[in-house]
Amino acid sequence: MNRSKLIRFTHGACISLKELPCLDFTEFRESLLEEIAGDGRVASFFAMPADDGFDLYAILAHDWREEFALLHCRVGDVYPALTPDCPQLHLFEREIAEQYGVLPEGHPWLKPVRFHNSWVDAADIWRRDPQQHPIPGDMDFYRVEGAGVHEVAVGPVHAGVIEPGHFRFQCHGEEVLSLEISLGFQHRGLEPQLIGGPHPASIHQMEAAAGDTTIGHTTAYSQVLESLAGVEVASRAYSVRAIALELERLANHIGDIGAMAGDVGYLPTASFCGRLRGDYLNLTAELCGSRFGRGLVRPGGVAFDLDLPLQEKLLQRLAVLEPETRGAVELCFDSPSVLARFEGTGRLSTDDAETLGLVGVAARACGLMRDARLHHPVAEREFDTPVIDTDGDVFARGNVRRQEIYASHDLIRDLIKRLPEGEDQRSLGPLAADSLALSVCEGWRGEVVHVGITDGAGKLARYKIVDPSFHNWSGLAMVLRGQQISDFPLCNKSFNLSYCGFDL
């Protein structure tokens, strides 16, 4: 392959679109498959309208080489689907079909993703009436026929205080033969909102892209703008963001372990963790006034300083919280009745995880070392103690969280100790015109990937968000195969994926 046709870059680079070669589709396809075969994985894949057709962009991550590859080609309104050769693209191609009416011919599973009208004036792939808003969940679900086979439909409104989504199980008795997940109920149309921006409301919408990952999404968004503006974030702000990211991880991981314990009826850990989760959220609130980190991360830096008294307060509180956390968590991992339910339930093989392109906790629990903190730091690497498990079951996903909780405590202490002096906010100038920047942030679920493309005036012409849940919902559907339907809640909690992060 002609290597010069492919751009390799590291996190933080700003790539001029004028220098970006446009491959013909065959070259694009071959290069992409070659990259995937050579240890690459899809970080982002999206389309953008061009004068004559659509530009396709593929961004592949090479984690151990700590770099990314960018491929670009132009297609009309139909092209041969890549999914049959590269299954991790299946949702990306469905997404493009839904957004722009571009047909990936031969896609084995071509269904709507979020149930919205096409963004451009194009024929609807599913021949729905363009004058009407599509009806969510209106698609052909996979069906199993036969004696004793029955279907269970759940949602969109669920039994608890949870986001909406639709789950369709094909069961034989208690056994699940297949689970299909249909989302889109939380679709707010985030990506089109950014076009012509950044707007004053944009940062606030990014904060609410997935509210439990506010720091993850705002950090990714800010890094995109910083790369496009050619501004390096102040080192103090970089560290404060990293601390906030770990606090977010702590709160969510602890909440998840509590929820998993609750699902198997182990109430001591469930209730201790429920309280502890709130205590970690309160630490974030000490920093920026909001338990979810609203207002902290801003393009150019952070809006709140971690001053000396606050540093001491955080360290003191952590010193109290850490042993309590260990106690609550170890209690459940020490309990044979809990382990009996965790071990072997909802198992995903390493191969399947790799094929589906899983990221984050779910990938690491299957033996895939994927952690953007380790592989793709935008500045100095501050993290070198990634956690991995190999069993791919509920236990492994819980165990990865448990070990990451302990690693986060150390990391926060270390970051506070080494917190650089200096400014925490730099002003951003105009964004570079006709450019592309990518940003990756290892949120608590996994990597949050944002890509921004500017037009000739330096305004955003396309903005692409990939929440880790976008990759990982397929993992949940996969582990349910052959599982008891009564294990669904536990499997679901062990993934704990975002609906709104997927739906955007």
Binding site: G184, Q186, G189, Q205, A208, G211, F272, A285, G295
Partner: protein, 250 residues
């Protein structure tokens, strides 16, 4: 078993003393906004134009804030202008949409239900929660009310699984097009008489997604709202205070 008991002793008793004792909130917490007195027209102008969500307006030469639209940004231009400041008062709930708009007057907090409704729901209120485009921060901080710190159950309030068992609906999120009919169906399935609670800036007025093509601007035009809980997201104490006020327990 012994481990469990040992850990139970170490973790201690954590149920909060609220409402007997006021909560202590972080120093940087942003609660009830205060509009500065004697602002000049240009000052008001800068503040009003600086808000991305049109939460501020000028009425008869005075500035007014709409808590149904404000998302309590940390970098509010009106604050930089000296026109607005955030107090640490977490009590924000109101009974009427109009009460959410105020200037330098006193903010009117939510009233309790009328006699008949109080008789029905005062000692036992079951709510069905529907997330209609919420970002999951509102939902997460409502779930927190069930943890032992807040222990919602001790006030007779509970979130239930079926709308048939519910006395009211609590909505979060701006109501996406894709959730509109599920929301209305859930509401219809709740037996009369029923309450409607809008929790968070999104449910009240669309929040940060106000005027986005795929969302309705909250539930205001879809359902008759009995209680508004401002915030993005509302602090758990804000929500708890709101519910207790509704039941006349504060």
């Amino acid at each position: 078993m012994l481990n469990m008991i040992r850990e139970r002793l170490r973790q201690g008793h954590r149920t909060g003393k609220f409402p007997r004792q006021e909560p202590s909130l972080p120093e940087r917490f942003r609660g009830l906004p205060e509009v500065a007195a004697n602002l000049t027209h240009p000052q008001i102008n800068v503040a009003v134009n600086g808000c991305p969500f049109n939460a501020l307006s000028e009425i008869n030469g005075k500035m007014q804030i709409d808590l149904g639209r404000c998302i309590f940004c940390a970098d509010c231009p009106a604050v930089a202008e000296g026109a607005l400041s955030f107090s640490r008062d977490y009590r924000l709930a109101a009974s009427h949409r109009d009460d959410l708009r105020y200037g330098d007057d006193i903010y009117r907090l939510a009233d309790k239900l009328n006699e008949r409704m109080l008789k029905l729901f005062g000692r036992s209120l079951k709510l069905r929660q529907v997330s209609a485009g919420g970002c999951n921060a509102c939902e997460a901080d409502l779930n927190v009310l069930g943890t032992l710190v807040y222990d919602l159950g001790r006030f007779g309030i509970q979130f239930v699984a079926s709308p048939r068992h519910a006395d009211g609906i609590l909505v979060t999120g701006p109501v996406t097009e894709n959730m509109k009919s599920a929301l209305l169906d859930t509401y219809a399935a709740i037996p009369e008489p029923k309450l409607v609670i809008a929790s968070g800036a999104c449910a009240i007025g669309g929040g940060p997604f106000r005027d986005c093509a795929e969302v309705n601007n909250g539930i205001g035009e879809l359902l008759p709202v009995d209680l508004y809980i401002p915030g993005c997201p509302p602090h758990p104490f804000t929500a708890l205070d709101a519910l207790l006020r509704l039941l006349g327990k504060r």
